[in-house]
Protein backbone atom coordinates (compact mmCIF):
# COMPACT_ATOMS: atom_id res chain seq x y z
CA UNK A 1 0.00 0.00 0.00
CA UNK A 2 1.02 3.59 -0.48
CA UNK A 3 1.35 6.45 1.98
CA UNK A 4 1.76 10.11 1.12
CA UNK A 5 0.45 12.00 -1.92
CA UNK A 6 -1.55 9.62 -4.09
CA UNK A 7 -1.98 7.18 -1.22
CA UNK A 8 -2.99 7.30 2.41
CA UNK A 9 -2.38 10.73 3.93
CA UNK A 10 -2.09 10.93 7.70
CA UNK A 11 -2.01 14.16 9.66
CA UNK A 12 -0.55 15.19 13.01
CA UNK A 13 -3.03 14.23 15.71
CA UNK A 14 -4.16 11.09 13.91
CA UNK A 15 -4.57 7.98 16.06
CA UNK A 16 -4.89 5.11 13.63
CA UNK A 17 -5.55 1.41 14.07
CA UNK A 18 -4.18 -0.93 11.42
CA UNK A 19 -5.94 -4.29 11.12
CA UNK A 20 -4.22 -7.06 9.19
CA UNK A 21 -3.51 -10.78 9.17
CA UNK A 22 0.02 -11.95 9.85
CA UNK A 23 3.44 -10.28 9.88
CA UNK A 24 3.87 -10.13 6.09
CA UNK A 25 0.77 -7.96 5.88
CA UNK A 26 2.06 -5.91 8.81
CA UNK A 27 5.11 -4.97 6.78
CA UNK A 28 2.96 -3.95 3.82
CA UNK A 29 1.55 -1.23 6.10
CA UNK A 30 4.44 -0.45 8.44
CA UNK A 31 7.25 -0.10 5.89
CA UNK A 32 5.52 2.41 3.57
CA UNK A 33 4.27 4.32 6.64
CA UNK A 34 7.81 4.73 7.92
CA UNK A 35 9.30 5.39 4.48
CA UNK A 36 6.78 8.16 3.89
CA UNK A 37 7.49 9.69 7.29
CA UNK A 38 11.27 9.59 6.93
CA UNK A 39 10.94 10.94 3.40
CA UNK A 40 9.14 14.08 4.58
CA UNK A 41 11.46 14.60 7.54
CA UNK A 42 9.41 13.11 10.38
CA UNK A 43 11.06 11.31 13.22
CA UNK A 44 9.87 7.71 13.41
CA UNK A 45 9.80 5.52 16.49
CA UNK A 46 8.56 1.93 16.45
CA UNK A 47 7.93 -0.51 19.25
CA UNK A 48 7.94 -3.99 17.78
CA UNK A 49 7.72 -7.52 19.11
CA UNK A 50 10.98 -8.26 17.37
CA UNK A 51 13.09 -5.09 17.24
CA UNK A 52 15.41 -6.02 14.40
CA UNK A 53 16.56 -2.61 13.22
CA UNK A 54 18.80 -3.75 10.39
CA UNK A 55 16.08 -5.96 8.88
CA UNK A 56 13.71 -3.00 9.02
CA UNK A 57 16.23 -0.64 7.44
CA UNK A 58 16.81 -3.14 4.65
CA UNK A 59 13.09 -3.37 3.90
CA UNK A 60 12.89 0.43 4.00
CA UNK A 61 15.73 0.79 1.53
CA UNK A 62 13.62 -0.81 -1.20
CA UNK A 63 11.12 2.03 -0.89
CA UNK A 64 13.38 5.02 -0.27
CA UNK A 65 15.60 6.96 -2.63
CA UNK A 66 19.24 6.11 -1.87
CA UNK A 67 20.13 9.74 -1.16
CA UNK A 68 17.23 10.35 1.26
CA UNK A 69 18.62 11.21 4.65
CA UNK A 70 16.55 9.55 7.30
CA UNK A 71 17.83 6.35 8.75
CA UNK A 72 19.21 8.35 11.66
CA UNK A 73 15.70 9.58 12.41
CA UNK A 74 14.42 6.03 12.83
CA UNK A 75 14.34 4.43 16.24
CA UNK A 76 13.43 0.76 16.65
CA UNK A 77 12.62 -0.41 20.16
CA UNK A 78 11.26 -3.59 21.69
CA UNK A 79 8.50 -3.94 24.29
CA UNK A 80 10.84 -3.98 27.28
CA UNK A 81 12.09 -0.54 26.19
CA UNK A 82 8.60 0.83 25.62
CA UNK A 83 5.22 -0.48 26.76
CA UNK A 84 6.57 -2.99 29.27
CA UNK A 85 9.44 -1.18 30.96
CA UNK A 86 10.03 -2.79 34.34
CA UNK A 87 7.94 -5.75 33.19
CA UNK A 88 4.57 -4.06 33.54
CA UNK A 89 2.29 -1.58 31.82
CA UNK A 90 1.06 1.65 33.41
CA UNK A 91 -0.93 4.09 31.27
CA UNK A 92 0.16 7.17 33.24
CA UNK A 93 3.85 6.35 33.04
CA UNK A 94 3.37 5.43 29.42
CA UNK A 95 1.89 8.79 28.45
CA UNK A 96 4.78 10.52 30.13
CA UNK A 97 7.26 8.33 28.27
CA UNK A 98 5.53 8.79 24.95
CA UNK A 99 5.35 12.55 25.40
CA UNK A 100 9.07 12.75 26.19
CA UNK A 101 10.04 10.40 23.41
CA UNK A 102 7.96 11.98 20.66
CA UNK A 103 8.08 15.62 21.62
CA UNK A 104 11.83 15.91 21.96
CA UNK A 105 13.52 19.20 21.20
CA UNK A 106 12.78 19.34 17.50
CA UNK A 107 9.63 20.84 16.05
CA UNK A 108 9.22 18.12 13.49
CA UNK A 109 6.34 15.68 13.48
CA UNK A 110 6.97 12.34 15.07
CA UNK A 111 5.40 9.12 13.88
CA UNK A 112 4.87 6.31 16.30
CA UNK A 113 4.17 2.72 15.26
CA UNK A 114 3.43 0.18 17.96
CA UNK A 115 2.69 -3.48 17.61
CA UNK A 116 0.01 -4.17 20.20
CA UNK A 117 0.89 -7.78 20.95
CA UNK A 118 2.68 -6.59 24.11
CA UNK A 119 -0.76 -6.65 25.70
CA UNK A 120 -0.94 -10.42 25.18
CA UNK A 121 1.89 -10.98 27.65
CA UNK A 122 -0.49 -11.85 30.44
CA UNK A 123 2.28 -12.35 33.00
CA UNK A 124 2.99 -8.59 32.91
CA UNK A 125 0.83 -6.57 35.34
CA UNK A 126 -1.29 -3.84 33.80
CA UNK A 127 -1.59 -5.25 30.27
CA UNK A 128 -5.37 -5.58 30.72
CA UNK A 129 -5.41 -1.77 30.68
CA UNK A 130 -4.83 -1.79 26.91
CA UNK A 131 -8.30 -0.63 25.89
CA UNK A 132 -8.65 2.17 28.42
CA UNK A 133 -5.17 3.33 27.40
CA UNK A 134 -6.25 3.34 23.74
CA UNK A 135 -9.27 5.46 24.67
CA UNK A 136 -7.36 7.92 26.88
CA UNK A 137 -4.58 8.48 24.36
CA UNK A 138 -7.12 10.40 22.26
CA UNK A 139 -7.15 13.05 25.00
CA UNK A 140 -3.44 13.47 25.70
CA UNK A 141 -2.53 17.00 24.54
CA UNK A 142 1.20 16.61 23.77
CA UNK A 143 0.41 13.72 21.46
CA UNK A 144 -1.95 15.76 19.34
CA UNK A 145 0.92 16.95 17.18
CA UNK A 146 2.06 13.39 16.49
CA UNK A 147 0.84 10.49 14.43
CA UNK A 148 0.15 7.24 16.25
CA UNK A 149 -0.25 3.97 14.39
CA UNK A 150 -1.36 0.97 16.45
CA UNK A 151 -0.76 -2.38 14.76
CA UNK A 152 -3.30 -5.13 15.44
CA UNK A 153 -2.76 -8.55 13.92
CA UNK A 154 -6.31 -9.95 13.93
CA UNK A 155 -4.92 -13.49 14.06
CA UNK A 156 -3.52 -12.77 17.52
CA UNK A 157 -6.37 -10.93 19.26
CA UNK A 158 -9.83 -11.91 20.53
CA UNK A 159 -13.01 -10.55 18.98
CA UNK A 160 -13.53 -8.58 22.16
CA UNK A 161 -10.23 -6.69 21.84
CA UNK A 162 -10.73 -6.17 18.11
CA UNK A 163 -14.05 -4.39 18.71
CA UNK A 164 -12.51 -2.34 21.54
CA UNK A 165 -9.78 -1.28 19.09
CA UNK A 166 -12.52 -0.13 16.69
CA UNK A 167 -14.18 1.77 19.55
CA UNK A 168 -11.00 3.68 20.42
CA UNK A 169 -9.43 4.70 17.08
CA UNK A 170 -10.96 7.52 15.01
CA UNK A 171 -9.30 6.14 11.88
CA UNK A 172 -8.67 2.59 10.75
CA UNK A 173 -6.53 1.07 8.04
CA UNK A 174 -8.01 -2.17 6.71
CA UNK A 175 -7.61 -3.79 3.30
CA UNK A 176 -5.38 -0.95 2.05
CA UNK A 177 -7.97 1.71 2.83
CA UNK A 178 -8.01 4.49 5.39
CA UNK A 179 -11.49 4.52 6.90
CA UNK A 180 -13.13 7.23 9.00
CA UNK A 181 -14.23 4.81 11.63
CA UNK A 182 -17.93 5.10 12.56
CA UNK A 183 -17.54 2.76 15.54
CA UNK A 184 -15.22 5.20 17.33
CA UNK A 185 -16.53 6.48 20.65
CA UNK A 186 -15.26 9.54 22.47
CA UNK A 187 -13.06 8.33 25.34
CA UNK A 188 -15.48 9.49 28.03
CA UNK A 189 -18.30 7.49 26.45
CA UNK A 190 -16.13 4.43 25.85
CA UNK A 191 -14.76 4.41 29.39
CA UNK A 192 -18.21 4.92 30.94
CA UNK A 193 -19.45 1.93 28.93
CA UNK A 194 -16.61 -0.32 30.05
CA UNK A 195 -17.29 0.51 33.69
CA UNK A 196 -20.96 -0.38 33.28
CA UNK A 197 -20.07 -3.66 31.62
CA UNK A 198 -17.72 -4.27 34.51
Amino acid sequence: MEFGPGGIVLRPGDHVCALYRGSARRDEILIPYLADGLGVGDRCVCALESADRSALVEKLSTLMQPDTPGADRLEVLDFSQTYLREGRFSADEWFEFLGRRLDGASRSVARWAGEMTWSLQSDCPGVDGLCSYEAMVNRVPPLCSQILLCLYDVERFSGDVLIDALRTHPKVIADDLLIDNPYYLEPEEFLAGSVVQG
Partner: protein, 193 residues
Protein backbone atom coordinates in the same frame (compact mmCIF):
# COMPACT_ATOMS: atom_id res chain seq x y z
CA UNK B 1 -34.03 -0.88 15.32
CA UNK B 2 -33.59 0.81 11.97
CA UNK B 3 -33.44 -2.10 9.56
CA UNK B 4 -35.02 -2.47 6.16
CA UNK B 5 -35.74 -5.02 3.42
CA UNK B 6 -32.66 -6.89 2.25
CA UNK B 7 -30.51 -6.02 5.25
CA UNK B 8 -27.99 -8.57 6.47
CA UNK B 9 -27.02 -7.34 9.91
CA UNK B 10 -24.33 -8.53 12.25
CA UNK B 11 -24.95 -8.01 15.95
CA UNK B 12 -21.89 -7.95 18.20
CA UNK B 13 -22.48 -8.32 21.94
CA UNK B 14 -20.86 -9.67 25.06
CA UNK B 15 -22.53 -12.60 26.81
CA UNK B 16 -26.06 -13.98 27.09
CA UNK B 17 -27.82 -11.06 28.86
CA UNK B 18 -26.71 -8.71 26.08
CA UNK B 19 -27.73 -11.27 23.45
CA UNK B 20 -31.24 -11.19 24.87
CA UNK B 21 -31.29 -7.39 24.83
CA UNK B 22 -30.78 -7.66 21.05
CA UNK B 23 -32.72 -10.83 20.24
CA UNK B 24 -35.93 -10.39 22.23
CA UNK B 25 -36.85 -6.85 21.06
CA UNK B 26 -35.99 -7.85 17.48
CA UNK B 27 -38.39 -10.80 17.60
CA UNK B 28 -41.05 -8.95 19.57
CA UNK B 29 -41.12 -6.07 17.08
CA UNK B 30 -41.35 -8.54 14.21
CA UNK B 31 -44.18 -10.49 15.78
CA UNK B 32 -46.14 -7.32 16.58
CA UNK B 33 -45.70 -6.10 13.00
CA UNK B 34 -47.07 -9.38 11.65
CA UNK B 35 -43.73 -10.57 10.24
CA UNK B 36 -42.80 -14.20 9.98
CA UNK B 37 -39.99 -14.73 12.48
CA UNK B 38 -37.49 -17.54 12.02
CA UNK B 39 -35.11 -17.81 14.93
CA UNK B 40 -32.28 -20.29 15.35
CA UNK B 41 -30.56 -20.28 18.75
CA UNK B 42 -27.56 -22.09 20.11
CA UNK B 43 -26.55 -20.88 23.59
CA UNK B 44 -29.99 -21.54 25.03
CA UNK B 45 -32.86 -23.87 24.11
CA UNK B 46 -35.61 -22.51 21.83
CA UNK B 47 -38.09 -22.93 24.68
CA UNK B 48 -36.09 -20.53 26.84
CA UNK B 49 -36.47 -17.84 24.17
CA UNK B 50 -40.17 -18.65 23.95
CA UNK B 51 -40.59 -18.20 27.70
CA UNK B 52 -38.61 -14.94 27.72
CA UNK B 53 -40.69 -13.51 24.87
CA UNK B 54 -44.03 -13.50 26.63
CA UNK B 55 -44.24 -9.82 27.59
CA UNK B 56 -46.19 -7.91 24.94
CA UNK B 57 -46.86 -10.89 22.70
CA UNK B 58 -48.51 -14.27 23.09
CA UNK B 59 -45.46 -16.14 21.89
CA UNK B 60 -46.92 -19.59 22.55
CA UNK B 61 -49.96 -18.90 20.40
CA UNK B 62 -47.88 -17.28 17.65
CA UNK B 63 -45.62 -20.30 17.59
CA UNK B 64 -48.62 -22.63 17.40
CA UNK B 65 -50.06 -20.55 14.54
CA UNK B 66 -46.78 -20.71 12.65
CA UNK B 67 -45.79 -17.04 12.77
CA UNK B 68 -42.87 -17.80 15.06
CA UNK B 69 -40.53 -20.57 14.06
CA UNK B 70 -38.03 -21.27 16.85
CA UNK B 71 -35.32 -23.83 16.20
CA UNK B 72 -32.20 -25.23 17.80
CA UNK B 73 -28.93 -24.78 15.89
CA UNK B 74 -28.45 -28.49 15.25
CA UNK B 75 -31.81 -28.66 13.44
CA UNK B 76 -30.90 -25.82 11.08
CA UNK B 77 -27.16 -25.29 10.67
CA UNK B 78 -25.88 -28.82 11.00
CA UNK B 79 -28.66 -31.37 10.61
CA UNK B 80 -27.05 -34.76 10.40
CA UNK B 81 -23.92 -33.42 12.09
CA UNK B 82 -22.32 -31.37 9.29
CA UNK B 83 -22.56 -27.82 7.97
CA UNK B 84 -22.76 -26.97 4.30
CA UNK B 85 -23.01 -23.38 3.02
CA UNK B 86 -25.13 -24.44 0.06
CA UNK B 87 -27.46 -26.57 2.17
CA UNK B 88 -27.91 -23.72 4.65
CA UNK B 89 -28.62 -21.18 1.90
CA UNK B 90 -31.19 -23.63 0.60
CA UNK B 91 -32.69 -23.92 4.09
CA UNK B 92 -33.30 -20.16 4.17
CA UNK B 93 -34.55 -20.15 0.57
CA UNK B 94 -37.14 -22.86 1.33
CA UNK B 95 -38.26 -21.34 4.61
CA UNK B 96 -38.51 -17.77 3.36
CA UNK B 97 -40.33 -18.77 0.17
CA UNK B 98 -42.77 -20.83 2.18
CA UNK B 99 -43.47 -17.91 4.54
CA UNK B 100 -43.99 -15.42 1.72
CA UNK B 101 -45.69 -17.57 -0.90
CA UNK B 102 -47.56 -20.28 0.99
CA UNK B 103 -48.25 -18.74 4.38
CA UNK B 104 -49.00 -15.24 3.09
CA UNK B 105 -46.56 -13.22 5.21
CA UNK B 106 -45.31 -9.98 3.69
CA UNK B 107 -42.02 -9.77 5.53
CA UNK B 108 -39.60 -12.18 7.18
CA UNK B 109 -37.27 -11.57 10.11
CA UNK B 110 -34.61 -14.23 10.38
CA UNK B 111 -32.05 -14.49 13.14
CA UNK B 112 -29.26 -16.98 13.77
CA UNK B 113 -27.04 -17.33 16.81
CA UNK B 114 -23.64 -18.34 15.46
CA UNK B 115 -21.85 -19.88 18.45
CA UNK B 116 -22.55 -23.37 17.01
CA UNK B 117 -19.72 -22.65 14.54
CA UNK B 118 -17.16 -22.73 17.36
CA UNK B 119 -17.61 -26.50 17.61
CA UNK B 120 -15.54 -28.75 15.42
CA UNK B 121 -18.35 -29.59 13.03
CA UNK B 122 -17.50 -30.89 9.55
CA UNK B 123 -17.90 -28.10 6.98
CA UNK B 124 -17.64 -25.28 9.50
CA UNK B 125 -14.78 -23.84 7.42
CA UNK B 126 -17.51 -22.81 4.93
CA UNK B 127 -18.86 -20.28 7.45
CA UNK B 128 -17.25 -17.18 5.94
CA UNK B 129 -18.26 -18.12 2.39
CA UNK B 130 -21.78 -18.70 3.68
CA UNK B 131 -21.95 -15.29 5.35
CA UNK B 132 -20.73 -13.60 2.16
CA UNK B 133 -23.21 -15.50 -0.02
CA UNK B 134 -26.05 -14.61 2.33
CA UNK B 135 -25.80 -11.02 1.05
CA UNK B 136 -26.93 -12.18 -2.39
CA UNK B 137 -29.84 -14.05 -0.84
CA UNK B 138 -30.97 -11.35 1.60
CA UNK B 139 -31.64 -8.76 -1.11
CA UNK B 140 -33.89 -11.11 -3.11
CA UNK B 141 -36.76 -11.12 -0.62
CA UNK B 142 -38.53 -8.68 1.73
CA UNK B 143 -36.61 -9.77 4.77
CA UNK B 144 -33.98 -8.93 7.37
CA UNK B 145 -31.34 -11.42 8.43
CA UNK B 146 -29.66 -10.86 11.79
CA UNK B 147 -26.54 -12.83 12.75
CA UNK B 148 -25.55 -12.97 16.40
CA UNK B 149 -21.84 -13.02 17.27
CA UNK B 150 -20.76 -13.11 20.90
CA UNK B 151 -17.50 -11.15 21.16
CA UNK B 152 -16.50 -13.09 24.25
CA UNK B 153 -16.47 -16.30 22.25
CA UNK B 154 -15.13 -15.49 18.77
CA UNK B 155 -11.57 -14.72 17.63
CA UNK B 156 -10.48 -11.41 16.15
CA UNK B 157 -10.04 -13.17 12.84
CA UNK B 158 -13.66 -14.31 12.65
CA UNK B 159 -14.97 -10.94 13.83
CA UNK B 160 -12.90 -9.27 11.10
CA UNK B 161 -14.44 -11.61 8.51
CA UNK B 162 -17.90 -10.76 9.82
CA UNK B 163 -17.15 -7.04 9.47
CA UNK B 164 -16.34 -7.74 5.83
CA UNK B 165 -19.47 -9.79 5.13
CA UNK B 166 -22.28 -7.76 6.74
CA UNK B 167 -23.48 -4.49 5.25
CA UNK B 168 -24.83 -3.33 8.59
CA UNK B 169 -23.60 -3.81 12.13
CA UNK B 170 -25.47 -3.58 15.40
CA UNK B 171 -23.16 -2.57 18.23
CA UNK B 172 -23.98 -1.01 21.60
CA UNK B 173 -27.64 -0.45 20.62
CA UNK B 174 -26.81 1.41 17.39
CA UNK B 175 -27.16 0.22 13.80
CA UNK B 176 -24.22 1.28 11.64
CA UNK B 177 -23.70 1.35 7.90
CA UNK B 178 -20.59 -0.77 7.95
CA UNK B 179 -17.66 0.68 5.95
CA UNK B 180 -15.63 -2.54 6.23
CA UNK B 181 -18.22 -4.44 4.19
CA UNK B 182 -17.05 -5.92 0.91
CA UNK B 183 -19.64 -6.82 -1.72
CA UNK B 184 -20.10 -10.60 -2.00
CA UNK B 185 -18.99 -10.73 -5.64
CA UNK B 186 -15.67 -9.16 -4.71
CA UNK B 187 -15.26 -10.93 -1.37
CA UNK B 188 -15.99 -14.39 -2.78
CA UNK B 189 -13.60 -13.81 -5.68
CA UNK B 190 -10.77 -13.04 -3.24
CA UNK B 191 -11.74 -15.97 -1.02
CA UNK B 192 -11.69 -18.30 -4.00
CA UNK B 193 -8.29 -17.17 -5.25
Amino acid sequence: MDVGPGDHVCAFYRGLPERDRVLLPYLRAGLMAGNKCICVVDATAPDTVLADLTSGVDSHALRAQGQLNLMASQDAYFPGGGFSADAMLDFWEQNVRKALHDEGFEFVRAVGEMTWSLRSIPGVDELVRYEAALNKFSRRYPQVILCLYDLERFSGEIIMDMLKTHSKVLLGGTIYENPYYIRPEEFLAVLGS
